[in-house]
Symmetry: C2
Subunit: 507 residues, 2 copies
């Protein structure tokens, strides 16, 4: 057996969380940095997780009345300029196309040529280009609502990229809707946030806090930004999805006007909402351990792996046959109305190496079948939510029928652990001193160790927010919808506070 | 009834084929040009067709052992330069990113800033960037084969764009594989061409010719390019998919080397293969008629539409109820193992307007239910492969059970019609005179009218090919795998010819 002396991932989480994260990504063979700064290569295991996320989100978007469409990658500068806050928010991170040809110059070097009259920006988000289309399509209230989504790549130039969490190019979906009334648009904004919350909870096994952003953390050009915020294992927050109420800002910028029921020209009310491959980073940081990735079964490309243990070559045929037969039985079982995704690892390497590879890849259930199991009519089962040595023997005959319940138990266990972790590191804070202490490492602690989520009263002032950010690198993650909604006094100024807000360090 | 006096689409095909094409796209609400030159907006109906194509191709790729991954949008110039033919082939159509910020200049104008040390090309195809990754991943013969595909957008600057068929940005899939031996790579190249042929035949209902390209029509950098070629209704050819055997060219350019079984460092053998949103354009031109789009059921976002005919408001409730009940019955039926996609058009416009909209959108089956049908227990059914007035009454009770057979009959009928059309316009040509006459409009004919596919002997000379292209705008579409493989004499030079090749005008 090639089991490492301690853990499969080095460093461990408590030793160096950022390095541990990168090591988990590498050990699970999910993705890697490319030579193009900030752009990642998503490898099959990482992309397989993304495909499962996409598939489910797409079904949820369609179930709420949305259709998919596709809009251009390039945005003329003049479009971007139309919404002042929007362009200010994205100007510093735009990749700009200025030429449309290459030629070999006098020195034999390949250089850009064919300068464009108007440079094009590679979309950092598509409000402006989609707004231009909606302005063409919407004439009357009968044309509303427009409920579209697109799956696309976007580019935001990153100076400090971190794989999955913050990359120059990333994959995402962006929903863009236009409505007749403010009320409808507000309803849509909240409805899609609820979709994200449900998805995070039921698929990613991540409990998220829902709420609205403070003014300084809003999407550039939005009236209101709603978000789901997750806590990961270094107690920081990750903004995992956002849903923006854009009011009439973009409708005015793009000219999305319609003839109302009352016969008047009105501007539409619009929303946009998105989640991205950042969800994969969030998933890793929320659940994984010092042996590597831990995948909730519902987003695991392989839910059950069967590992033949073949000490002697003459046993190969019989053991592989038993593995194949069991795989067929398990595949015929359903987990949440889908056939269980099962794989037999037939590679010609030792069973121990195989086991450790699948542990590092986060596969929820490992089933080993060796000569002794064959004789005894048993299988030897490891769960990824338990220690690598904590295996259990099951009678082979009934095992397939138990697989759905086993997966469900793992799915729920992972959620419960994440939920307990967040509860343990969320604290009601009643004074400024307590607040600063909560976010300040104690003697002997690493600088990145801090309390987690602080629920504190705040007077709504952007200046107070800015001071805290400067002092502690702590920001308001959201003004929550459902936690401790009572009014009180701001812990920084003593002024009136409508409700507690959540402060945290964040990615 | 708002039935137009003649046809729903103007101009008709025979009047002006290119204009008819654009009018079909518009009438079906599939896509439109954006203000960014050459970039299209794919609207929900067009994107819905693409999603069905994607879904099926993806299943076929996975069934042949491929997995999906994702590689960067941007390619450093230095990568592109590595394969000389490749860069020469794409240099004239590359969008180049030269800056990564925007700022407001002294005149208050938004301008690019933050010049990149090395400009980046927006991928026109990904052999070079994927090759760089494979060079990192492949060390030993044990790492081979690598069998990956990506779904992505690519950019090739177009000076004469045509929606779906030739756009600056388009959506596609690109498979990229690396193998231990030449034989394996050749097998893969052909296997994926076969996947494309099967998909075109069974889903798009398009009979395609399979073959290899002549040297002058090869993918830049490939040793051999295999293709599927479709004939559309103006008798021109559309290259609908290609599969490239890249030999060791890109492996040498990117450094994809492995330690062989014999312990030697060897270069891998690679392939690439792709189809794009061009398939949608091919589909339109192959099947549609003067009333608009005609969709083969297997790629129709809606396969059956139910249209309530409500002359008097007091009948509304009862008629809508009957429509809803029938929709449920039809949806419960399966067509090729998928539930039938059915929609009830409940909009508040006249039944005649609805009918014409669905005809223009190409929905295979229209079912009308009005008061008289309700009384008689019947439904009134129109098939998109027949004339708009050619409707048939069916007993309502058994109709749902007949829907799968009806859809299959339409699927096959559309294929048979396209196949007969191609046969009728494919001619064996025995002399140069006959060849020139075949591609030259006769007195009184429009200049775009020509014979179709010419099967003629050719001596293999690139000069002869170039002369024909110059004289007639006719090129060799492919050297077919399966048609008239006997040797003979070149009709242009009298020299020896190994087999007939297919000449045609093309998109």
């Amino acid at each position: 057996m090639s089991k490492p002396a301690t853990n499969a991932i080095s460093p461990r989480r408590e030793e160096d969380f950022p390095e541990w994260y990168q090591a988990v990504v590498t050990a699970a063979d999910m993705a890697e940095n490319s030579e193009v700064r900030g752009c990642m290569v998503i490898k099959p295991w990482g992309y397989g997780i993304w495909e499962l996320m996409q598939g489910q989100l797409d079904r949820m978007f369609k179930a709420t009345g949305h259709k998919n469409a596709y809009f251009p990658l390039f945005i003329p500068l003049s479009y971007l300029e139309k919404e002042a806050e929007h362009v200010a928010g994205f100007a510093k991170e735009c990749a700009v196309v200025t030429h449309h040809r290459l030629e070999v110059n006098a020195e034999g070097k390949l250089v850009p040529t064919g300068a464009l009259t108007e440079p094009l920006v590679v979309r950092p988000t598509s409000e402006t280009i989609i707004g231009a289309a909606y302005a063409r399509w919407v004439q009357s209230y009968r044309d509303l609502p427009v409920l579209l989504n697109q799956w696309a790549n976007v580019v935001r130039w990153e100076l400090r990229p971190r794989i999955f969490l913050r990359t120059t190019e990333f994959l995402w979906q962006e929903g863009h809707t236009a409505h007749e009334t403010e009320q409808e648009a507000l309803h849509e904004t909240r409805r899609m946030l609820d979709v994200y919350e449900t998805f995070a909870r039921d698929y990613l096994a991540i409990p998220v806090v829902t709420g609205r952003k403070s003014a300084s953390e809003r999407f550039p050009g939005a009236v209101d930004t709603l978000c789901i915020e997750a806590m990961v294992q270094d107690r920081k927050a990750v903004q995992a999805g956002t849903s923006h109420f854009l009011g009439q800002n973009f409708a005015k910028a793009s000219g999305i006007q319609y003839l109302s029921r009352a016969g008047k020209q009105e501007y539409a009310w619009t929303t946009s909402w998105g989640v991205s491959t950042r969800l994969i980073g969030t998933l890793i940081m929320a659940h994984s351990d010092d042996d590597g990735l831990v995948l909730p079964p519902r987003v695991a490309p392989t839910q059950v792996v069967i590992i033949p243990i073949i000490p002697r070559d003459e046993q190969r045929k019989e053991i592989l046959k038993a593995c194949g037969a069991l795989a067929q039985q398990i595949e015929a079982e359903q987990f949440h109305k889908e056939n269980i995704r099962v794989e037999v690892d037939q590679r010609d390497i030792t069973g121990g190496n195989k086991t450790w590879e699948w542990i590092k890849k986060g596969v929820p259930v490992r089933v080993e079948i060796g000569p002794r199991d064959l004789e005894a009519g048993t299988v030897f089962v490891g769960r990824r939510d338990r220690g690598p040595k904590e295996k259990q023997s099951y009678p082979k005959d009934g095992f397939a029928a138990q697989a759905p319940a086993l997966l469900q138990s793992i799915q729920e266990g992972i959620y419960d652990r994440a939920h307990a972790f967040r509860r343990a590191h969320t604290k009601v804070i009643e004074s400024k001193e307590e607040f600063y202490a909560f976010f300040t490492p104690k003697n002997g602690e690493k600088p990145e160790i801090h309390g987690g989520f602080a629920l504190a009263h705040w007077n709504g002032s952007t200046e107070v927010e800015a001071k805290i950010k400067e002092d502690l690198k702590v920001t308001i993650r959201c003004i929550p919808f459902e936690e401790m909604l009572q009014p009180g006094s701001c812990i920084f100024t003593g002024e009136k506070s409508e409700q507690r807000v959540i402060f945290a360090k964040s990615y």
